[in-house]
């Protein structure tokens, strides 16, 4: 890992302010933030859309429902009447904002309404899991790097084990178990369908990726004169950690935030795609893709729409991540500044 030079000694103006100003000047941050803002607004708008505009319950099966479109009554799930009459096909996109804008899924539910509700779960899980990863990694990195010795040895070995366990394998094994049994952490008990399960799993599997570089930085910092001096003068450990070390590792941590959220989101959707993430009838973009796979040949839109949402959101987060990194770490800043 490249060592982050302590910038505070060099610049007279606080580095935070410089970074913020750089970020505000960066086109990329405005583009990505407006995309993210729109998606969050749409997510908040979900109940409004479902109950007022489309007047539908995205979590109730309506297999025998009918709608009136252009004066004709059509079944939401239309049994085939030609040939041998095999199969039942859900209604496709009507492009009518009031009913089945993007068509129906296999349960006769409104895909558009589910997509909006799904964005809530996906964003929530992605953000929570990403933040859990960052917070736990910061804690582990600080403790291991600062205390060194056996504490570091134990923590590092645990990180090694998680690291060596391929992410999807670990996530899948944990999901399979927890989905059957639920999870008990002390007095907290999460049922098998709880959103806390994917959050915990995703939050844990990525810890080594963030904790290791942080530990490395803290370890290097611990050797530096100003920290040694502080220890020598008998300053309290907490003071040293919070006053001297934390401000110096913060830039790296901040850069990780949007990237980890994007990564957690992608992982959530992959787990849901393998039907071990968010559990039905709740929706997330991954579960809608999973539902849509069963309709890929007849109604590809069901799987395509949530996929595009994932790409858009992840791309916006990554773009913002780039802008943040360049603002905080002038060394890697793109040319033209």
């Amino acid at each position: 890992m490249s060592l982050n030079e302590s910038a505070s000694a060099i610049f007279s103006e606080s580095p935070g302010k410089i970074a913020l100003r750089t970020l505000a000047r960066d086109k990329r941050s405005w583009i990505s933030l407006s995309i993210l803002g729109t998606i969050i607004l749409l997510a908040l708008f979900a109940p409004l859309y479902a109950h007022i505009i489309a007047k539908t319950d995205p979590f109730a099966s309506t297999l025998n429902a009918t709608i009136t479109l252009h004066g004709k009554t059509i079944s939401v799930l239309e049994p085939s009447t030609t040939g041998l009459g095999l199969g039942v096909t859900p209604i496709g996109p009507t492009w009518n904002i009031h009913k089945y804008f993007l068509g129906a899924d296999g349960q006769g539910r409104d895909v558009m309404a589910r997509l909006l509700y799904g964005s809530r779960n996906t964003l929530f899980i992605g953000t929570s899991a990403g933040l859990i990863t960052i917070i736990l990694s910061l804690l582990i990195g600080l403790i291991a790097g600062y205390r060194r010795g056996w504490v570091d040895a134990v923590l590092s070995r645990i990180l090694d084990v998680i690291w060596a366990f391929p992410v999807y394998l670990l996530a899948i094994s944990l999901s399979v178990v927890l989905l059957t049994s639920g999870l008990k952490i002390g007095f907290l008990h999460f049922g098998p369908g709880s959103m806390a399960l994917p959050i915990t799993i995703i939050g844990v599997v990525y810890i080594p990726y963030v904790a290791r570089p942080i530990r490395g930085q803290v370890l290097a910092m611990r050797e530096r004169e100003f920290v040694r001096a502080a220890v020598g003068t008998g300053a309290k450990h907490s003071t040293i950690v919070f006053r001297e070390i934390l401000p110096n590792v913060m830039p790296a941590v901040l850069v990780f935030i949007p990237i980890m959220i994007a990564l957690s989101m992608l992982t959530e959707s992959a787990l849901s795609f393998l039907s071990i993430g968010v559990q039905p009838p709740s929706a997330s973009w991954g579960t809608i893709i999973n539902d849509g796979l069963a309709l890929l040949y007849t109604r590809p839109i069901v799987a395509l729409a949530p996929g595009l949402m994932i790409v858009l959101t992840a791309a916006a987060l990554n773009l913002y991540g780039d802008a943040v990194r360049d603002a905080l770490d002038p060394k890697t800043r793109a040319r033209g500044d």
């Binding site: 297999l63 009459g85 369908g193 069963a294 109604r299």
Partner: protein
């Protein structure tokens, strides 16, 4: 995954009163195959499936997927006839020269073994192989050892100590006369069926005393297994020592080789057959390909009825379904037409609410849980759900607002069913969740009382037309073992009075089948008034074959006849 459906089509065990159309000639219902036409023989038949069905050992494997192949490879003393439809339930002599002579009040069965038949390794089939084969059922802990063959004299000792199993008194053979005598502890009217299934096939005496796993055991039929890799490919080639001895029991086969490929998703399998890269799809056809097959490929699709049911067992021992009103409410609330839609439409399934499927011995057309009907005043058929009545029943039962989890397999169709049932339960006043778990453990998971499953979605496929195979197996006290993964009575329903009536009917079946079937029909209505389960629909089998594949025939017993398909 679709594998659940493979496991669901495991053939049923524990059938006690199997009624059998026994006849020594082919004059009974159902016509046999037309004579073998050597001009159409040859070529390689390519079958595709998502997954293999486990061990290849015919004494251990208990899946519909491989039993279909065993019909063209292994033979017992008796066999099921090669005939279309119901004719395939007829039992015909196979390695025996004729159906057995029954004496001693039905407790002694005497067979004569055909001579001149050889195993695929060239060794002749002898009476010593017959005796060893019956002992091997116990030595390898065959799944049906305790339920099918426990009536043979000496079997209890074999069940407790499989390693030293000897059936000297149960299977008495005489090499000079080429005779086999099977002695039973008590008469068993289902014994002929039990002797005709693959677990009673005759294998060389030298076969290993443990599950042979992936190592093929020599066969007697037109094919033998050449190689088996459960992740890739099963190859069957012609048995060089096979000569047709009975066209009804084991006719000559058409293709020179059968390649059974594993690992493709169902949708990729369908594409492969459409593009003529494979001859037949094993797995259920994915919902979004059905329309295409029904229109563009209609001539290559074959739909056949199955005597089977999709149903919802409800645990009668824990809340809320320990309350009969709650169970009846579910029965009233289920929109069976909606579930049929999920399954693929009215051409592939039909709504029912009786326990015994249509066209089944004992079946009576009735539905106690449709709009305007009650269990005591049933309608003729299911028409529409009665949500208002269901809500009222839930309210009256005092269980409204309780949490209910629906446990389903995580493959597409089952998960969809689970989501639908959850939606229904919510609409009648419960707080329902759906819990999809791996298709491979769901079936045993919902059986074990330790897992406290309240309601689930499951399937039951018959293999003999016998009412007891449904009622006695699924709702009998003997099938309920608390804290065990093997407790097929998932509702945990043990009604002593009802059980006694079933035992009486079983005994009646030995002497008077017609009266017994009538009694089963009454028991069906009686138990459904108590609603330990909700029956949803009866499915049909859809086989999809490639354009060049000819001579499709369907047996109710083992489904499509693999050996009769022509690729030339």
């Amino acid at each position: 995954m679709r594998r659940s459906l493979i496991i669901k089509s495991l053939l049923t065990a524990g059938a006690l009163a199997l009624s059998v159309v026994a006849s020594s000639t082919s004059s009974a219902a159902g016509t046999g195959m037309v004579p073998f036409d050597s001009a159409k023989a040859g070529g390689t038949l390519k079958l595709v499936a998502q997954a293999a069905a486990g061990t290849l050992d015919p004494k251990v494997n208990y899946t519909g997927q491989f039993w279909q192949l065993y019909q063209a490879t292994y033979d017992g003393l008796l066999g099921f006839k090669y005939a279309d439809g119901a004719g395939s339930f007829e039992i015909v002599p196979d390695l025996a020269t004729a159906l057995p002579v029954q004496s001693n009040g039905g407790k002694t069965l005497t067979f004569t073994l055909r001579s001149g038949i050889k195993f695929s390794n060239g060794a002749p089939v002898t009476v010593a192989d017959v005796k060893a084969s019956f002992e091997r059922i116990f030595k390898v802990s065959s799944p049906t050892a305790g339920s099918f063959y426990n009536g043979i004299v000496g079997a209890p000792a074999c069940l407790t100590k499989p390693a030293t199993c000897k059936l000297d008194k149960g299977v008495v053979v005489n090499a000079a006369k080429n005779s086999v005598v099977i002695n039973l502890v008590a008469p068993d009217e289902a014994i002929l069926s039990k002797l005709a299934v693959p677990h009673a096939a005759i294998n060389p005496a030298s076969s290993p005393a443990k599950d042979a796993g992936t190592a093929p055991i020599p066969t007697t039929g037109p094919y033998m297994f050449k190689s088996y890799d459960p992740n890739k490919l099963l190859v069957m080639v012609r048995n060089p020592f096979f000569k047709e001895w009975s066209h009804d029991a084991q006719p000559a086969a058409y293709s020179d080789e059968i390649d059974y490929q594993f690992g493709l998703t169902p949708t990729a399998q369908v594409t492969a057959v459409e593009n003529n890269q494979a001859n037949w799809v094993y797995d259920p056809i994915p919902a979004d390909r059905l329309n295409e097959i029904g229109t563009k490929y209609a001539t290559q699709a074959h739909v056949n009825p199955l005597t089977a049911m999709w149903y919802l067992p409800m645990n009668v021992n824990i809340a809320p379904f320990n309350n009969v009103k709650a169970r009846q409410a579910v029965n009233y609330a289920l929109d069976r037409a909606a579930m049929v839609k999920i399954f693929g439409g009215s051409q592939l399934a039909a709504p029912v609410c009786s326990f015994l499927p249509p066209n089944f011995p004992g079946h009576v057309d009735y539905c106690g849980y449709t709009k305007g009907a009650t269990p005591t005043k049933p309608a003729k058929a299911w028409a529409a759900p009665d949500l208002a009545l269901a809500k009222k029943l839930v309210k009256d039962s005092g269980t409204a607002g309780q949490a209910v989890a629906v446990v389903v397999s995580d493959d597409d169709v089952n998960k969809q069913m689970g989501v639908y049932v959850q939606s229904v339960l919510n609409s009648i006043g419960y707080k329902a969740t759906v819990k999809p778990i791996s298709a491979n453990i769901q079936f045993t998971y919902i059986q074990n009382t330790k897992n406290k499953v309240q309601i689930s979605v499951s399937q039951w496929y018959q293999d003999y037309p016998a009412a007891s195979d449904f009622l006695n197996v699924l709702l009998g006290c003997a099938s309920f073992t608390p804290n065990s993964d093997a407790s097929i009575n998932m509702s945990g329903y043990c009604n002593k009075a009802f059980d006694a009536k079933m035992q009486k009917t079983l005994a009646l079946a030995v002497t008077d089948k017609t009266a017994a079937d009538k009694s089963w029909g009454q028991l069906d209505q009686e138990v459904m008034a108590d609603a330990p389960v909700a029956v949803a629909f009866t499915p049909k089998q859809l086989d999809f074959i490639s354009t060049g594949t000819k001579n499709y025939h369907f047996s109710l017993q083992f489904k499509m006849f693999v050996s009769q398909l022509q690729t030339k």
